[in-house]
């Protein structure tokens, strides 16, 4: 079947429908032969950003590798909602071992493929932010420094959602989780803590590091495909809003991800061998309040009398990202 002719034009948005694009620029997900690697029927919540991100990322990796892909999965939401037999949603060879070892298991798979002369088979490891930035950090750093031929995908929803929303080292300052409750004098998660995993990955000087969000799925697919052009350790950090943990409507997932980027709180960029090679510019900068207000995890900042000083500190973090990565065009930055 040939592609459908253009029937309409979208105006007033920054998104482009697939049907407005030439065939070669259309998303992997728009292809008739998409692989449905993470198939429908799984048990993710409505509006789950991780399910969306994983589906696009893995299908793109399948497309880029001519379907020669194996995945190692950390314990977490993704593992729980996509299994068990006979209801596994995975259409690819997939293994879950433990919470903290997905990167090492992937190293083992890659080693096995190499020793068996099957270097066409590529390996991804995937986990949430807890399995990546906290408990799986040792194995991840080891995989990075050995430059093992693995693409690690971190689906970052900024807390331990599978266990009922507890703080991780990816939880943003001021956010409410069940272990950073804004009670008494506390205003949620503390400032001055947390890990910047993409920066840590870059410090290993691995061939490729990127960030992405589920608001820009073309960009996510392109980065996964690009990552597959390299051999060695690669890392993509994908922001995946969680309606349950963030407290936004399940129809708001994409919008939350877009606001995270457009406020500057989540910089979207690419890096090779430790150096930034490209950034996704902010198209229409918004104050962080636009991002914070729809999420109940930040609701305590807006209850009377309000906490403008906390919001100002979060704005400073966004402004620092914008400066560091040059997220605004010169004219906009100066205006």
């Amino acid at each position: 079947m040939s592609h459908q002719p253009i029937r309409f034009y979208q105006t007033g948005t920054f998104t482009v429908g697939n049907r407005l694009l030439p065939t070669e620029e259309r998303s992997v997900q728009a292809k008739l032969r998409r692989t449905n690697s993470l198939n429908s029927g799984h048990r993710a919540c409505q509006g789950c950003g991780e399910a969306l991100g994983a589906r696009y990322a893995i299908d793109a990796a399948m497309d880029a590798t001519n379907r020669q892909l194996v995945a190692a999965n950390a314990t977490g939401c993704l593992e729980v909602f996509s299994t068990p037999y006979p209801e596994t949603s995975w259409q690819i060879p997939w293994i879950h071992s433990l919470f903290g070892n997905a990167a090492a298991v992937a190293t083992g798979i890659a080693a096995a493929m190499r020793v068996k002369g099957r270097s066409e088979v590529r390996v991804v490891a995937q986990g949430g932010d807890g399995g990546t930035t906290d408990i799986g950090f040792g194995c991840l750093s080891g995989m990075f420094e050995r430059n093992d031929d693995v693409l690690y995908l971190c689906y970052d929803n900024e807390a331990y959602m599978n266990t009922g929303v507890q703080r991780s080292s990816a939880t943003p300052p001021a956010a409410r989780t069940n272990t950073t409750m804004p009670v008494g004098d506390s205003l949620g998660n503390r400032f001055g803590q947390g890990k910047n995993l993409p920066a840590i990955a870059m410090a290993h000087e691995i061939p490729y590091v990127a960030t992405a969000t589920v608001a820009e799925l073309h960009d996510l697919e392109a980065k996964v495909r690009h990552a597959m052009e390299f051999r060695g350790a690669r890392y993509i950090h994908i922001l995946v809003p969680c309606p349950l943990g963030w407290g936004h409507g399940s129809a708001e997932t994409i919008r939350m991800a877009r606001l995270a980027k457009e406020t500057g709180l989540f910089p979207v960029f690419e890096a090779q061998h430790g150096e930034v090679t490209g950034v996704s510019k902010i198209r229409r900068q918004l104050p962080v309040e636009e991002y914070l207000r729809p999420q109940t995890r930040f609701a305590h900042l807006f209850k009377p009398p309000g906490h403008p000083e906390v919001i100002a500190r979060l704005q400073q973090l966004a402004d620092r990202n914008i400066r560091r990565f040059g997220l605004l065009d010169a004219t906009e930055a100066g205006s």
Binding site: Q68, V70, N73, P84, W90, W94, G100, N101, V115, C139
Partner: protein, 417 residues
């Protein structure tokens, strides 16, 4: 071919003859020489194709082995002591997933207090993890058990741990008969996995399993280990046919026929025990030895048969079930046809404390005379412990525990004799 080599070197060479495809290495004494030896063989191109991976922890070592094994490669690693505990989560996981990884454990004490010397606390702490656990009596057997371990693991799709006493075996230079590549190839067929990660035939491995099936999955692991009780002696028999010597099996017996007193033990201490038994036999004592080669699965029937005529059993073990007494002795009691009151635990050699013939003679003599306590701590200096306990009663801030003991001893030196 006969060689005079270090135990670790012998094991490294034997493992290499088994053609492992992925080896994960993380240093911990006293295992280190084994992976060093294998690393040299891979670097030199003697062992190929093989991926030798220097990992960042024992947890990663076992995790890399899990990935490699699930992807269809023959995987091997080695560890000891704290390393085994650090990888414990992955050790259970490898067994639960049914992956035929082979691992050497160079048995060493567990801290605190930190101690690098030999006992069996490390391996026995993992006795319920689902791995088959084999204990080598000497370096020849350590070498041979590794060859048998790969065969056993891959046939049952279960991981196998080969335990050898740290330093006592790993660092001892002994004569061993090193098999040829042809012999090992004749005994050990190429790895044919029961489950494999392959894009041509995608499967999900390690899915969530709820109450509806978990019991059955666990029982299956138990049933497979019980199958091993038949396979281990059968393959020890085939091993003899190919290699021309007896090695492995479930148990070793020594002068048991008319023995009224039977000493049960694991590992290298069996040599000292046999020498002691020879001395006592020469004086007319009817005493014999039962060596446990296969600790998991526990060879209930073989132990029961071996102890059928024993009036009393002395289990000499390099491990301690803190708050209970013996670990091995509890297993022996479950298999002993007589009264459990006639099974005596002798806790010996913890943290490398020397086990001497003199001490063994004394304790075996007490057993023969019916004067041995249910649990005995061989060569324990109670006077030191009593003084420390007294100080603890008198002083709230009595200080760090191990340091108090060392202060009482007065000199930092091995207590021998």
């Amino acid at each position: 071919m006969l060689k005079q080599v270090e135990g670790s070197a012998a094991v490294a060479e034997a493992v290499a003859l088994c053609r492992p495809q992925v080896i994960c290495a993380y240093p911990i004494s006293p295992q280190t020489h084994i992976v060093e030896g294998l690393g040299r063989l891979v670097s030199a191109g003697t062992l190929k194709p093989c991926e030798f991976i220097n990992v960042e922890s024992e947890f990663a070592a076992m995790s890399v082995a899990i990935g490699a094994s699930a992807a269809g490669a023959r995987a091997y690693t080695a560890t000891a002591s704290q390393g085994l505990l650090f990888m414990a989560e992955a050790v259970f996981n490898a067994a639960g997933l049914g992956l035929p990884i082979v691992m050497t454990v160079a048995n060493r004490a567990i801290g605190a207090p930190i101690n690098i010397w030999n006992d069996h606390t490390d391996a026995l702490s993992q006795r319920d993890c689902g791995w088959i656990q084999l204990f080598a009596e000497d370096n020849q057997e350590a070498l041979d058990l590794h060859i048998q371990a790969f065969r056993l693991a891959e046939e049952l799709s279960l991981p196998v741990m080969v335990c050898m006493d740290g330093f006592i075996l790993t660092h001892a230079y002994e004569r061993v008969d090193m098999p040829t590549q042809e012999q090992v190839d004749a005994y050990l067929p190429p790895y044919e996995p029961r489950q494999v990660l392959d894009p041509a035939d995608p499967v999900s491995i390690g899915a969530m399993v709820g109450p509806e099936a978990f019991m059955e999955v666990r029982y299956l692991a138990h049933a497979k280990q019980r199958q091993a009780l038949d396979l281990i002696p059968a393959w020890a028999g085939e091993f003899k046919r190919v290699f021309g010597r007896e090695s492995g099996g479930l148990t070793h017996t020594y002068k048991l026929d008319d023995a009224e007193t039977v000493v049960v033990a694991l590992g290298s201490v069996l040599g000292t025990i046999k020498d002691t038994v020879d001395e006592m036999r020469a004086e007319g004592t009817r005493i014999g030895v039962l060596g446990i080669t296969c600790f998991r699965p526990w060879p209930t029937a073989a132990v029961r048969a071996a102890l059928a005529k024993a009036k009393r059993v002395v289990v000499l073990e390099k491990s301690l079930a803190v708050g209970l007494g013996g670990i091995v002795s509890n297993n022996v009691s479950a298999a002993y046809p007589g009264s459990p009151d006639d099974v005596h635990a002798v806790i010996a050699g913890l943290g490398g404390r020397a086990i001497t013939r003199g001490s063994l003679r004394k304790v075996f003599g007490q057993a023969v005379d019916g004067k041995l306590d249910p649990v005995t701590f061989l060569d324990l200096d109670y006077s030191i412990v009593d003084r420390v306990l007294k100080r603890e009663r008198e002083q709230r801030r009595s200080g760090p525990i191990a340091e108090a003991i060392l202060r009482e001893i007065g000199v930092v030196a091995a207590k021998i004799g």
